[in-house]
Point group: C2
Chain length 309, copies 2
Protein backbone atom coordinates (compact mmCIF):
# COMPACT_ATOMS: atom_id res chain seq x y z
CA UNK A 1 0.00 0.00 0.00
CA UNK A 2 1.42 3.36 -1.03
CA UNK A 3 1.59 6.03 1.65
CA UNK A 4 2.79 9.46 0.60
CA UNK A 5 4.78 10.38 3.69
CA UNK A 6 7.63 12.78 4.23
CA UNK A 7 10.37 10.29 3.51
CA UNK A 8 9.43 9.64 -0.10
CA UNK A 9 8.23 12.83 -1.73
CA UNK A 10 11.69 13.97 -2.58
CA UNK A 11 11.88 11.75 -5.65
CA UNK A 12 9.79 13.37 -8.37
CA UNK A 13 9.64 12.86 -12.13
CA UNK A 14 9.35 16.32 -13.70
CA UNK A 15 7.91 16.66 -17.21
CA UNK A 16 7.65 19.55 -19.65
CA UNK A 17 4.47 18.77 -21.65
CA UNK A 18 5.98 20.30 -24.81
CA UNK A 19 8.85 17.83 -24.76
CA UNK A 20 6.95 14.50 -24.77
CA UNK A 21 4.68 12.93 -27.41
CA UNK A 22 0.96 13.79 -27.14
CA UNK A 23 0.05 10.12 -26.51
CA UNK A 24 2.34 9.98 -23.49
CA UNK A 25 1.09 13.33 -22.17
CA UNK A 26 -2.47 12.02 -22.62
CA UNK A 27 -1.54 9.04 -20.44
CA UNK A 28 -0.18 11.25 -17.64
CA UNK A 29 -3.20 13.56 -17.66
CA UNK A 30 -5.71 10.69 -17.62
CA UNK A 31 -3.73 8.66 -15.09
CA UNK A 32 -3.57 11.55 -12.61
CA UNK A 33 -6.97 13.23 -13.01
CA UNK A 34 -9.60 10.76 -11.92
CA UNK A 35 -11.85 9.00 -11.31
CA UNK A 36 -13.73 11.04 -13.91
CA UNK A 37 -17.55 11.07 -14.21
CA UNK A 38 -19.00 9.87 -17.52
CA UNK A 39 -21.37 11.80 -19.80
CA UNK A 40 -23.22 9.37 -22.07
CA UNK A 41 -24.15 11.96 -24.69
CA UNK A 42 -27.14 11.58 -27.00
CA UNK A 43 -27.17 13.94 -30.00
CA UNK A 44 -28.69 14.10 -33.49
CA UNK A 45 -27.47 15.39 -36.85
CA UNK A 46 -29.56 17.77 -38.98
CA UNK A 47 -31.30 14.79 -40.64
CA UNK A 48 -32.33 13.56 -37.18
CA UNK A 49 -30.03 10.51 -37.00
CA UNK A 50 -29.24 9.49 -33.41
CA UNK A 51 -25.77 9.29 -31.95
CA UNK A 52 -24.78 8.03 -28.51
CA UNK A 53 -21.23 8.15 -27.12
CA UNK A 54 -19.52 8.35 -23.70
CA UNK A 55 -17.11 11.11 -22.63
CA UNK A 56 -15.07 11.29 -19.42
CA UNK A 57 -13.76 14.82 -20.03
CA UNK A 58 -16.91 15.90 -18.23
CA UNK A 59 -18.23 17.50 -15.06
CA UNK A 60 -20.80 19.83 -13.55
CA UNK A 61 -19.47 23.38 -13.07
CA UNK A 62 -22.33 25.56 -11.84
CA UNK A 63 -25.68 25.18 -10.09
CA UNK A 64 -27.16 28.61 -10.88
CA UNK A 65 -27.44 28.51 -13.84
CA UNK A 66 -27.05 24.69 -13.99
CA UNK A 67 -24.06 24.19 -16.31
CA UNK A 68 -22.22 21.03 -17.38
CA UNK A 69 -19.21 20.84 -19.69
CA UNK A 70 -17.90 17.91 -21.68
CA UNK A 71 -15.26 17.59 -24.38
CA UNK A 72 -15.49 15.44 -27.49
CA UNK A 73 -11.80 15.85 -28.33
CA UNK A 74 -10.14 15.61 -31.75
CA UNK A 75 -8.66 12.15 -32.32
CA UNK A 76 -5.04 11.91 -31.21
CA UNK A 77 -4.41 9.35 -33.98
CA UNK A 78 -6.28 10.80 -36.95
CA UNK A 79 -7.14 14.40 -35.91
CA UNK A 80 -10.75 13.80 -36.99
CA UNK A 81 -13.68 15.24 -35.03
CA UNK A 82 -16.24 13.00 -33.38
CA UNK A 83 -19.85 12.55 -34.54
CA UNK A 84 -20.98 14.09 -31.24
CA UNK A 85 -19.03 17.28 -31.96
CA UNK A 86 -20.26 17.42 -35.57
CA UNK A 87 -23.86 16.87 -34.46
CA UNK A 88 -23.72 19.61 -31.83
CA UNK A 89 -22.45 22.08 -34.45
CA UNK A 90 -25.57 21.21 -36.50
CA UNK A 91 -28.10 20.79 -33.67
CA UNK A 92 -26.93 22.42 -30.39
CA UNK A 93 -28.81 20.07 -28.08
CA UNK A 94 -27.69 17.06 -26.04
CA UNK A 95 -29.02 14.62 -23.46
CA UNK A 96 -26.31 13.86 -20.89
CA UNK A 97 -27.18 10.41 -19.55
CA UNK A 98 -25.47 9.29 -16.33
CA UNK A 99 -23.76 5.87 -16.37
CA UNK A 100 -24.05 3.45 -13.47
CA UNK A 101 -22.72 -0.05 -12.96
CA UNK A 102 -25.80 -1.75 -14.45
CA UNK A 103 -25.13 -0.29 -17.93
CA UNK A 104 -21.34 0.09 -17.98
CA UNK A 105 -20.73 -2.66 -20.57
CA UNK A 106 -23.48 -1.34 -22.83
CA UNK A 107 -21.92 2.15 -22.53
CA UNK A 108 -18.52 0.72 -23.44
CA UNK A 109 -20.04 -1.06 -26.44
CA UNK A 110 -21.60 2.22 -27.63
CA UNK A 111 -18.12 3.79 -27.68
CA UNK A 112 -17.00 1.44 -30.48
CA UNK A 113 -16.36 3.19 -33.81
CA UNK A 114 -19.59 2.13 -35.52
CA UNK A 115 -20.05 3.60 -39.01
CA UNK A 116 -22.11 6.82 -39.30
CA UNK A 117 -25.79 6.00 -39.73
CA UNK A 118 -25.55 2.95 -37.43
CA UNK A 119 -27.61 3.52 -34.25
CA UNK A 120 -25.60 3.07 -31.05
CA UNK A 121 -28.92 2.71 -29.20
CA UNK A 122 -29.65 -0.43 -31.24
CA UNK A 123 -26.10 -1.81 -31.20
CA UNK A 124 -25.78 -1.34 -27.42
CA UNK A 125 -29.28 -2.63 -26.70
CA UNK A 126 -30.45 0.59 -25.04
CA UNK A 127 -33.95 2.07 -25.24
CA UNK A 128 -34.37 5.51 -26.82
CA UNK A 129 -37.17 7.60 -25.31
CA UNK A 130 -38.37 11.07 -26.30
CA UNK A 131 -37.12 14.14 -24.44
CA UNK A 132 -39.52 16.84 -23.21
CA UNK A 133 -37.66 19.95 -24.42
CA UNK A 134 -35.13 18.90 -27.07
CA UNK A 135 -34.90 16.59 -30.09
CA UNK A 136 -32.13 14.11 -29.05
CA UNK A 137 -33.48 11.06 -27.24
CA UNK A 138 -32.82 9.89 -23.69
CA UNK A 139 -31.37 6.53 -22.64
CA UNK A 140 -34.20 4.91 -20.68
CA UNK A 141 -31.84 2.62 -18.74
CA UNK A 142 -29.72 5.55 -17.46
CA UNK A 143 -30.54 6.43 -13.81
CA UNK A 144 -30.41 10.22 -14.41
CA UNK A 145 -30.93 12.01 -17.73
CA UNK A 146 -30.18 15.72 -18.24
CA UNK A 147 -31.82 17.45 -21.21
CA UNK A 148 -29.46 20.30 -22.20
CA UNK A 149 -29.13 23.10 -24.70
CA UNK A 150 -25.58 23.85 -25.83
CA UNK A 151 -24.82 27.50 -25.07
CA UNK A 152 -21.26 27.55 -26.45
CA UNK A 153 -18.65 25.34 -28.07
CA UNK A 154 -15.11 26.48 -27.33
CA UNK A 155 -12.41 24.85 -29.47
CA UNK A 156 -9.13 24.53 -27.58
CA UNK A 157 -6.93 23.77 -30.60
CA UNK A 158 -6.86 22.34 -34.11
CA UNK A 159 -4.28 19.55 -33.74
CA UNK A 160 -4.83 15.87 -32.86
CA UNK A 161 -5.79 15.56 -29.17
CA UNK A 162 -7.27 19.07 -28.95
CA UNK A 163 -10.35 19.32 -26.75
CA UNK A 164 -13.61 21.12 -27.50
CA UNK A 165 -15.48 22.49 -24.49
CA UNK A 166 -19.20 21.88 -25.02
CA UNK A 167 -20.85 24.17 -22.46
CA UNK A 168 -24.38 22.99 -21.71
CA UNK A 169 -27.27 24.42 -19.72
CA UNK A 170 -29.59 21.86 -18.09
CA UNK A 171 -33.24 22.37 -19.12
CA UNK A 172 -34.79 19.30 -17.54
CA UNK A 173 -33.75 16.47 -15.21
CA UNK A 174 -35.21 12.95 -15.15
CA UNK A 175 -34.30 10.68 -12.22
CA UNK A 176 -35.21 7.01 -11.86
CA UNK A 177 -37.13 6.72 -8.59
CA UNK A 178 -35.18 3.54 -7.80
CA UNK A 179 -32.12 5.69 -6.93
CA UNK A 180 -34.05 8.10 -4.66
CA UNK A 181 -34.37 7.88 -0.89
CA UNK A 182 -37.61 8.54 1.00
CA UNK A 183 -36.95 12.32 0.87
CA UNK A 184 -36.82 12.16 -2.95
CA UNK A 185 -33.09 12.91 -2.93
CA UNK A 186 -30.44 10.83 -4.74
CA UNK A 187 -29.09 8.02 -2.53
CA UNK A 188 -25.35 7.69 -3.19
CA UNK A 189 -25.48 3.97 -2.35
CA UNK A 190 -28.41 3.20 -4.62
CA UNK A 191 -27.18 4.95 -7.75
CA UNK A 192 -23.95 2.88 -8.08
CA UNK A 193 -22.08 5.41 -10.20
CA UNK A 194 -19.11 4.34 -12.29
CA UNK A 195 -16.29 6.60 -13.35
CA UNK A 196 -13.32 6.47 -15.68
CA UNK A 197 -9.65 6.24 -14.78
CA UNK A 198 -6.42 5.80 -16.76
CA UNK A 199 -5.81 2.86 -19.11
CA UNK A 200 -8.74 0.46 -19.23
CA UNK A 201 -9.67 1.13 -15.61
CA UNK A 202 -13.04 2.12 -14.21
CA UNK A 203 -14.05 2.73 -10.59
CA UNK A 204 -17.32 1.61 -9.00
CA UNK A 205 -18.73 3.70 -6.17
CA UNK A 206 -20.32 1.33 -3.67
CA UNK A 207 -20.16 0.39 0.01
CA UNK A 208 -16.60 -0.93 -0.47
CA UNK A 209 -15.19 2.30 -1.88
CA UNK A 210 -17.33 5.10 -0.45
CA UNK A 211 -16.39 6.90 2.76
CA UNK A 212 -17.72 9.99 4.53
CA UNK A 213 -15.96 13.08 5.79
CA UNK A 214 -18.26 15.33 7.79
CA UNK A 215 -17.05 18.87 7.98
CA UNK A 216 -18.81 21.93 9.37
CA UNK A 217 -19.32 24.57 6.70
CA UNK A 218 -19.06 27.68 8.86
CA UNK A 219 -16.65 26.66 11.64
CA UNK A 220 -12.92 26.03 11.44
CA UNK A 221 -10.65 23.49 13.10
CA UNK A 222 -7.68 24.32 15.35
CA UNK A 223 -5.22 23.38 12.58
CA UNK A 224 -1.94 21.45 12.50
CA UNK A 225 -0.04 24.36 14.05
CA UNK A 226 -2.01 23.87 17.30
CA UNK A 227 -1.30 20.13 17.59
CA UNK A 228 0.96 19.12 20.52
CA UNK A 229 4.45 17.93 19.55
CA UNK A 230 3.94 14.42 20.92
CA UNK A 231 1.15 13.92 18.38
CA UNK A 232 3.10 15.47 15.49
CA UNK A 233 5.98 13.08 16.25
CA UNK A 234 3.78 10.00 16.72
CA UNK A 235 4.92 6.85 14.96
CA UNK A 236 1.32 5.62 14.93
CA UNK A 237 -0.69 8.61 13.70
CA UNK A 238 -0.62 9.40 9.95
CA UNK A 239 -1.21 12.69 8.17
CA UNK A 240 -4.86 11.67 7.76
CA UNK A 241 -5.21 11.00 11.50
CA UNK A 242 -3.59 14.33 12.34
CA UNK A 243 -5.80 16.02 9.73
CA UNK A 244 -8.88 14.71 11.54
CA UNK A 245 -7.52 15.73 14.95
CA UNK A 246 -6.64 19.22 13.68
CA UNK A 247 -10.23 19.59 12.46
CA UNK A 248 -11.65 19.80 16.00
CA UNK A 249 -13.06 23.21 16.86
CA UNK A 250 -12.47 23.15 20.62
CA UNK A 251 -10.49 20.59 22.62
CA UNK A 252 -12.38 18.60 25.28
CA UNK A 253 -11.89 20.14 28.74
CA UNK A 254 -9.85 18.60 31.56
CA UNK A 255 -12.87 17.43 33.54
CA UNK A 256 -14.23 15.49 30.58
CA UNK A 257 -10.81 14.01 29.84
CA UNK A 258 -10.40 12.86 33.45
CA UNK A 259 -13.83 11.31 33.52
CA UNK A 260 -13.21 9.52 30.19
CA UNK A 261 -9.84 8.30 31.49
CA UNK A 262 -11.45 6.88 34.62
CA UNK A 263 -14.30 5.13 32.85
CA UNK A 264 -12.77 4.03 29.55
CA UNK A 265 -9.00 3.88 30.02
CA UNK A 266 -8.30 2.91 33.66
CA UNK A 267 -7.48 -0.74 32.83
CA UNK A 268 -4.92 0.37 30.28
CA UNK A 269 -3.33 2.93 32.63
CA UNK A 270 -3.14 0.38 35.47
CA UNK A 271 -1.65 -2.41 33.37
CA UNK A 272 1.02 -0.19 31.78
CA UNK A 273 1.73 2.22 34.66
CA UNK A 274 5.44 1.31 34.65
CA UNK A 275 5.84 1.44 30.87
CA UNK A 276 4.94 4.98 29.74
CA UNK A 277 6.34 4.55 26.21
CA UNK A 278 4.26 1.46 25.61
CA UNK A 279 1.24 3.17 27.16
CA UNK A 280 1.62 6.12 24.78
CA UNK A 281 1.72 3.81 21.75
CA UNK A 282 -1.35 1.96 23.00
CA UNK A 283 -3.24 5.22 23.46
CA UNK A 284 -2.27 6.46 19.99
CA UNK A 285 -3.41 3.15 18.51
CA UNK A 286 -6.71 3.39 20.36
CA UNK A 287 -7.19 7.00 19.23
CA UNK A 288 -6.49 5.99 15.63
CA UNK A 289 -9.21 3.34 15.82
CA UNK A 290 -11.67 5.89 17.24
CA UNK A 291 -10.85 8.30 14.39
CA UNK A 292 -11.63 5.59 11.86
CA UNK A 293 -15.14 5.49 13.40
CA UNK A 294 -15.35 9.31 13.21
CA UNK A 295 -15.27 9.55 17.03
CA UNK A 296 -13.20 12.72 17.11
CA UNK A 297 -13.95 13.81 20.66
CA UNK A 298 -13.25 10.37 22.12
CA UNK A 299 -9.98 10.18 20.17
CA UNK A 300 -8.88 13.51 21.62
CA UNK A 301 -9.85 12.49 25.19
CA UNK A 302 -7.80 9.30 24.75
CA UNK A 303 -4.74 11.27 23.63
CA UNK A 304 -5.08 14.03 26.23
CA UNK A 305 -5.48 11.48 29.03
CA UNK A 306 -1.77 10.61 28.69
CA UNK A 307 -0.60 14.00 29.99
CA UNK A 308 -3.47 14.52 32.45
CA UNK A 309 -3.14 14.04 36.17
CA UNK B 1 -28.43 -3.99 -4.89
CA UNK B 2 -30.02 -1.70 -7.47
CA UNK B 3 -30.27 -3.02 -11.01
CA UNK B 4 -31.66 -0.73 -13.64
CA UNK B 5 -33.65 -3.24 -15.63
CA UNK B 6 -36.57 -2.85 -17.94
CA UNK B 7 -39.24 -3.32 -15.28
CA UNK B 8 -38.33 -0.26 -13.23
CA UNK B 9 -37.33 2.56 -15.53
CA UNK B 10 -40.88 3.65 -16.12
CA UNK B 11 -41.03 5.52 -12.78
CA UNK B 12 -39.12 8.75 -13.18
CA UNK B 13 -39.06 11.95 -11.16
CA UNK B 14 -38.95 14.84 -13.64
CA UNK B 15 -37.63 18.22 -12.54
CA UNK B 16 -37.58 21.68 -14.14
CA UNK B 17 -34.42 23.31 -12.69
CA UNK B 18 -36.09 26.74 -12.73
CA UNK B 19 -38.85 25.52 -10.42
CA UNK B 20 -36.81 24.25 -7.46
CA UNK B 21 -34.53 26.10 -4.98
CA UNK B 22 -30.85 26.37 -5.98
CA UNK B 23 -29.75 24.32 -2.93
CA UNK B 24 -31.95 21.41 -4.02
CA UNK B 25 -30.81 21.66 -7.64
CA UNK B 26 -27.22 21.69 -6.35
CA UNK B 27 -27.96 18.41 -4.54
CA UNK B 28 -29.33 16.73 -7.66
CA UNK B 29 -26.42 17.86 -9.84
CA UNK B 30 -23.78 16.73 -7.33
CA UNK B 31 -25.60 13.51 -6.49
CA UNK B 32 -25.81 12.45 -10.13
CA UNK B 33 -22.50 13.66 -11.59
CA UNK B 34 -19.75 11.75 -9.87
CA UNK B 35 -17.39 10.57 -8.59
CA UNK B 36 -15.67 13.87 -9.40
CA UNK B 37 -11.88 14.32 -9.43
CA UNK B 38 -10.46 16.88 -7.00
CA UNK B 39 -8.25 19.87 -7.87
CA UNK B 40 -6.37 20.99 -4.78
CA UNK B 41 -5.61 24.50 -6.06
CA UNK B 42 -2.68 26.57 -4.83
CA UNK B 43 -2.83 30.28 -5.73
CA UNK B 44 -1.42 33.59 -4.47
CA UNK B 45 -2.79 37.12 -4.20
CA UNK B 46 -0.88 40.12 -5.53
CA UNK B 47 0.95 40.48 -2.20
CA UNK B 48 2.13 36.87 -2.55
CA UNK B 49 -0.02 35.34 0.23
CA UNK B 50 -0.67 31.62 -0.32
CA UNK B 51 -4.09 30.04 -0.64
CA UNK B 52 -4.92 26.36 -0.91
CA UNK B 53 -8.44 25.00 -1.50
CA UNK B 54 -10.05 21.90 -3.05
CA UNK B 55 -12.56 21.97 -5.95
CA UNK B 56 -14.50 19.04 -7.39
CA UNK B 57 -15.98 21.01 -10.30
CA UNK B 58 -12.83 19.96 -12.12
CA UNK B 59 -11.50 17.79 -14.93
CA UNK B 60 -8.99 17.50 -17.75
CA UNK B 61 -10.47 18.49 -21.14
CA UNK B 62 -7.68 18.39 -23.71
CA UNK B 63 -4.25 16.79 -24.18
CA UNK B 64 -2.95 19.01 -27.02
CA UNK B 65 -2.76 21.67 -25.70
CA UNK B 66 -2.98 20.20 -22.16
CA UNK B 67 -6.01 21.96 -20.65
CA UNK B 68 -7.73 21.55 -17.29
CA UNK B 69 -10.79 23.43 -16.07
CA UNK B 70 -12.04 23.96 -12.53
CA UNK B 71 -14.74 26.16 -11.06
CA UNK B 72 -14.50 28.12 -7.80
CA UNK B 73 -18.22 28.88 -7.72
CA UNK B 74 -19.95 31.81 -6.02
CA UNK B 75 -21.30 30.83 -2.62
CA UNK B 76 -24.89 29.56 -2.76
CA UNK B 77 -25.49 30.98 0.74
CA UNK B 78 -23.76 34.37 0.62
CA UNK B 79 -23.03 34.97 -3.12
CA UNK B 80 -19.42 35.84 -2.21
CA UNK B 81 -16.51 34.80 -4.43
CA UNK B 82 -13.80 32.48 -3.15
CA UNK B 83 -10.20 33.50 -2.35
CA UNK B 84 -9.05 31.19 -5.16
CA UNK B 85 -11.17 33.09 -7.70
CA UNK B 86 -10.04 36.48 -6.37
CA UNK B 87 -6.39 35.40 -6.44
CA UNK B 88 -6.57 34.15 -10.02
CA UNK B 89 -8.03 37.48 -11.15
CA UNK B 90 -4.94 39.12 -9.59
CA UNK B 91 -2.31 36.49 -10.45
CA UNK B 92 -3.45 34.14 -13.26
CA UNK B 93 -1.40 31.16 -12.13
CA UNK B 94 -2.33 28.00 -10.21
CA UNK B 95 -0.83 24.70 -9.12
CA UNK B 96 -3.43 21.94 -9.43
CA UNK B 97 -2.37 19.33 -6.88
CA UNK B 98 -3.94 15.87 -7.14
CA UNK B 99 -5.52 14.39 -3.99
CA UNK B 100 -5.02 10.77 -3.00
CA UNK B 101 -6.19 8.79 0.00
CA UNK B 102 -3.09 9.58 2.07
CA UNK B 103 -3.91 13.32 2.24
CA UNK B 104 -7.71 13.36 2.00
CA UNK B 105 -8.28 14.54 5.59
CA UNK B 106 -5.67 17.27 5.26
CA UNK B 107 -7.35 18.37 2.02
CA UNK B 108 -10.72 18.46 3.79
CA UNK B 109 -9.21 20.51 6.62
CA UNK B 110 -7.84 23.01 4.09
CA UNK B 111 -11.36 23.55 2.77
CA UNK B 112 -12.47 25.07 6.10
CA UNK B 113 -13.30 28.79 5.93
CA UNK B 114 -10.06 30.05 7.52
CA UNK B 115 -9.76 33.84 7.64
CA UNK B 116 -7.86 35.53 4.76
CA UNK B 117 -4.16 35.76 5.58
CA UNK B 118 -4.20 32.38 7.40
CA UNK B 119 -2.07 29.84 5.50
CA UNK B 120 -3.95 26.65 4.64
CA UNK B 121 -0.57 24.98 4.09
CA UNK B 122 0.24 25.53 7.76
CA UNK B 123 -3.26 24.78 9.09
CA UNK B 124 -3.49 21.54 7.10
CA UNK B 125 0.07 20.49 7.88
CA UNK B 126 1.17 20.38 4.24
CA UNK B 127 4.59 21.34 2.89
CA UNK B 128 4.81 24.21 0.39
CA UNK B 129 7.56 23.82 -2.20
CA UNK B 130 8.58 26.22 -4.98
CA UNK B 131 7.25 25.76 -8.51
CA UNK B 132 9.56 25.86 -11.53
CA UNK B 133 7.54 28.16 -13.82
CA UNK B 134 4.97 30.04 -11.68
CA UNK B 135 4.78 31.79 -8.32
CA UNK B 136 2.15 29.71 -6.41
CA UNK B 137 3.67 26.86 -4.43
CA UNK B 138 3.16 23.13 -4.84
CA UNK B 139 1.89 20.70 -2.19
CA UNK B 140 4.85 18.38 -1.61
CA UNK B 141 2.64 15.55 -0.27
CA UNK B 142 0.43 15.52 -3.41
CA UNK B 143 1.31 12.61 -5.75
CA UNK B 144 1.00 14.71 -8.94
CA UNK B 145 1.34 18.50 -9.20
CA UNK B 146 0.42 20.47 -12.33
CA UNK B 147 1.90 23.97 -12.72
CA UNK B 148 -0.61 25.93 -14.82
CA UNK B 149 -1.15 29.36 -16.32
CA UNK B 150 -4.75 30.54 -16.44
CA UNK B 151 -5.65 31.33 -20.03
CA UNK B 152 -9.23 32.45 -19.41
CA UNK B 153 -11.80 32.88 -16.64
CA UNK B 154 -15.36 32.53 -17.89
CA UNK B 155 -18.03 33.69 -15.43
CA UNK B 156 -21.24 31.67 -15.84
CA UNK B 157 -23.51 34.00 -13.85
CA UNK B 158 -23.60 36.59 -11.06
CA UNK B 159 -26.04 34.99 -8.62
CA UNK B 160 -25.30 32.69 -5.67
CA UNK B 161 -24.23 29.26 -6.93
CA UNK B 162 -22.90 30.58 -10.26
CA UNK B 163 -19.77 28.82 -11.50
CA UNK B 164 -16.63 30.42 -12.91
CA UNK B 165 -14.73 28.32 -15.45
CA UNK B 166 -11.01 28.71 -14.79
CA UNK B 167 -9.39 27.41 -17.98
CA UNK B 168 -5.77 26.39 -17.32
CA UNK B 169 -2.90 25.29 -19.54
CA UNK B 170 -0.43 22.86 -17.95
CA UNK B 171 3.17 24.16 -18.10
CA UNK B 172 4.90 21.52 -16.00
CA UNK B 173 4.05 18.18 -14.37
CA UNK B 174 5.66 16.73 -11.24
CA UNK B 175 4.94 13.10 -10.38
CA UNK B 176 6.02 11.28 -7.23
CA UNK B 177 8.02 8.27 -8.38
CA UNK B 178 6.24 6.14 -5.77
CA UNK B 179 3.11 6.11 -8.01
CA UNK B 180 4.99 5.14 -11.20
CA UNK B 181 5.43 1.64 -12.57
CA UNK B 182 8.68 0.33 -14.06
CA UNK B 183 7.86 2.00 -17.41
CA UNK B 184 7.63 5.39 -15.67
CA UNK B 185 3.87 5.51 -16.25
CA UNK B 186 1.28 6.18 -13.51
CA UNK B 187 0.11 2.95 -11.85
CA UNK B 188 -3.62 3.24 -11.18
CA UNK B 189 -3.31 0.94 -8.15
CA UNK B 190 -0.42 2.80 -6.58
CA UNK B 191 -1.81 6.34 -6.84
CA UNK B 192 -4.94 5.63 -4.72
CA UNK B 193 -6.99 8.53 -6.09
CA UNK B 194 -9.97 9.84 -4.16
CA UNK B 195 -12.91 11.62 -5.70
CA UNK B 196 -15.94 13.56 -4.51
CA UNK B 197 -19.56 12.47 -4.59
CA UNK B 198 -22.84 13.93 -3.28
CA UNK B 199 -23.40 14.83 0.39
CA UNK B 200 -20.36 14.08 2.56
CA UNK B 201 -19.35 11.11 0.42
CA UNK B 202 -15.99 10.39 -1.18
CA UNK B 203 -14.90 7.40 -3.26
CA UNK B 204 -11.54 5.65 -2.99
CA UNK B 205 -10.15 4.00 -6.12
CA UNK B 206 -8.39 0.82 -5.04
CA UNK B 207 -8.41 -2.91 -5.73
CA UNK B 208 -11.92 -3.19 -4.23
CA UNK B 209 -13.51 -0.64 -6.54
CA UNK B 210 -11.44 -0.68 -9.74
CA UNK B 211 -12.36 -2.89 -12.68
CA UNK B 212 -11.14 -3.16 -16.25
CA UNK B 213 -13.00 -3.10 -19.55
CA UNK B 214 -10.76 -3.89 -22.48
CA UNK B 215 -12.11 -2.63 -25.75
CA UNK B 216 -10.43 -2.55 -29.14
CA UNK B 217 -10.12 1.01 -30.45
CA UNK B 218 -10.44 0.32 -34.16
CA UNK B 219 -12.74 -2.73 -34.33
CA UNK B 220 -16.45 -2.98 -33.58
CA UNK B 221 -18.57 -5.64 -31.90
CA UNK B 222 -21.50 -7.46 -33.51
CA UNK B 223 -23.99 -5.43 -31.44
CA UNK B 224 -27.18 -6.32 -29.55
CA UNK B 225 -29.15 -6.60 -32.78
CA UNK B 226 -27.08 -9.66 -33.74
CA UNK B 227 -27.63 -11.53 -30.46
CA UNK B 228 -29.75 -14.71 -30.71
CA UNK B 229 -33.22 -14.49 -29.13
CA UNK B 230 -32.50 -17.18 -26.54
CA UNK B 231 -29.78 -14.95 -25.09
CA UNK B 232 -31.87 -11.77 -25.23
CA UNK B 233 -34.61 -13.60 -23.30
CA UNK B 234 -32.26 -15.22 -20.77
CA UNK B 235 -33.31 -15.01 -17.14
CA UNK B 236 -29.66 -15.30 -16.10
CA UNK B 237 -27.81 -12.86 -18.36
CA UNK B 238 -28.03 -9.12 -17.50
CA UNK B 239 -27.63 -6.10 -19.76
CA UNK B 240 -23.95 -5.97 -18.77
CA UNK B 241 -23.48 -9.64 -19.73
CA UNK B 242 -25.21 -9.08 -23.07
CA UNK B 243 -23.17 -5.91 -23.57
CA UNK B 244 -19.98 -7.95 -23.22
CA UNK B 245 -21.29 -10.69 -25.54
CA UNK B 246 -22.35 -8.13 -28.15
CA UNK B 247 -18.83 -6.70 -28.09
CA UNK B 248 -17.32 -9.75 -29.79
CA UNK B 249 -16.02 -9.06 -33.28
CA UNK B 250 -16.50 -12.53 -34.79
CA UNK B 251 -18.32 -15.49 -33.24
CA UNK B 252 -16.26 -18.65 -32.61
CA UNK B 253 -16.71 -21.17 -35.44
CA UNK B 254 -18.61 -24.45 -35.17
CA UNK B 255 -15.47 -26.61 -35.02
CA UNK B 256 -14.12 -24.68 -32.05
CA UNK B 257 -17.50 -24.79 -30.33
CA UNK B 258 -17.75 -28.57 -30.77
CA UNK B 259 -14.24 -29.12 -29.49
CA UNK B 260 -14.89 -26.87 -26.45
CA UNK B 261 -18.17 -28.71 -25.79
CA UNK B 262 -16.40 -32.07 -25.88
CA UNK B 263 -13.53 -31.07 -23.61
CA UNK B 264 -15.12 -28.61 -21.19
CA UNK B 265 -18.85 -29.26 -21.17
CA UNK B 266 -19.42 -33.00 -21.79
CA UNK B 267 -20.09 -33.82 -18.11
CA UNK B 268 -22.79 -31.15 -17.98
CA UNK B 269 -24.41 -32.30 -21.24
CA UNK B 270 -24.43 -35.95 -20.11
CA UNK B 271 -25.84 -35.28 -16.65
CA UNK B 272 -28.63 -33.04 -17.95
CA UNK B 273 -29.38 -34.67 -21.30
CA UNK B 274 -33.06 -35.20 -20.37
CA UNK B 275 -33.55 -31.72 -18.89
CA UNK B 276 -32.85 -29.19 -21.65
CA UNK B 277 -34.32 -26.22 -19.74
CA UNK B 278 -32.12 -26.86 -16.74
CA UNK B 279 -29.13 -27.42 -19.03
CA UNK B 280 -29.70 -24.05 -20.69
CA UNK B 281 -29.79 -22.26 -17.33
CA UNK B 282 -26.60 -24.04 -16.25
CA UNK B 283 -24.85 -23.02 -19.47
CA UNK B 284 -25.97 -19.40 -19.11
CA UNK B 285 -24.72 -19.37 -15.50
CA UNK B 286 -21.39 -20.81 -16.60
CA UNK B 287 -21.10 -18.26 -19.42
CA UNK B 288 -21.87 -15.44 -16.97
CA UNK B 289 -19.02 -16.60 -14.71
CA UNK B 290 -16.65 -16.71 -17.70
CA UNK B 291 -17.65 -13.17 -18.66
CA UNK B 292 -16.83 -11.96 -15.16
CA UNK B 293 -13.29 -13.24 -15.81
CA UNK B 294 -13.22 -11.46 -19.20
CA UNK B 295 -13.21 -14.84 -21.02
CA UNK B 296 -15.42 -13.66 -23.87
CA UNK B 297 -14.61 -16.40 -26.38
CA UNK B 298 -15.13 -19.19 -23.84
CA UNK B 299 -18.44 -17.65 -22.76
CA UNK B 300 -19.64 -17.60 -26.37
CA UNK B 301 -18.55 -21.23 -26.97
CA UNK B 302 -20.44 -22.27 -23.82
CA UNK B 303 -23.61 -20.56 -25.06
CA UNK B 304 -23.34 -21.75 -28.66
CA UNK B 305 -22.76 -25.35 -27.54
CA UNK B 306 -26.43 -25.55 -26.51
CA UNK B 307 -27.68 -25.38 -30.09
CA UNK B 308 -24.77 -27.25 -31.67
CA UNK B 309 -24.86 -30.83 -32.70
Amino acid sequence: MYLCTAHNYANMLTIDPKEIPVAKLHHYLLGAVGPRPIAFASTIDKEGNDNLAPFSFFNVFSANPPIMVFSPARSGRTNTTKDTYNNIKEVPEVVINIVNYAIVHQMSLASSPFAPGISEFEKAGLSAIESDTIRPKRVAESPVQFECKVIEVKELGDQGGAGNLVICEVLKIHINEAVLNEDQMIDQHKIELVSRMGGNWYCKADENSMFEITKPITTVGIGFDQLPNDLMNSVTLTGNDLGQLAGIEVLPNETDVNEYKLIELSDLFVSLEDEPEKLEIELHTKAKALLSENKLNEAWMTLLAFNNG
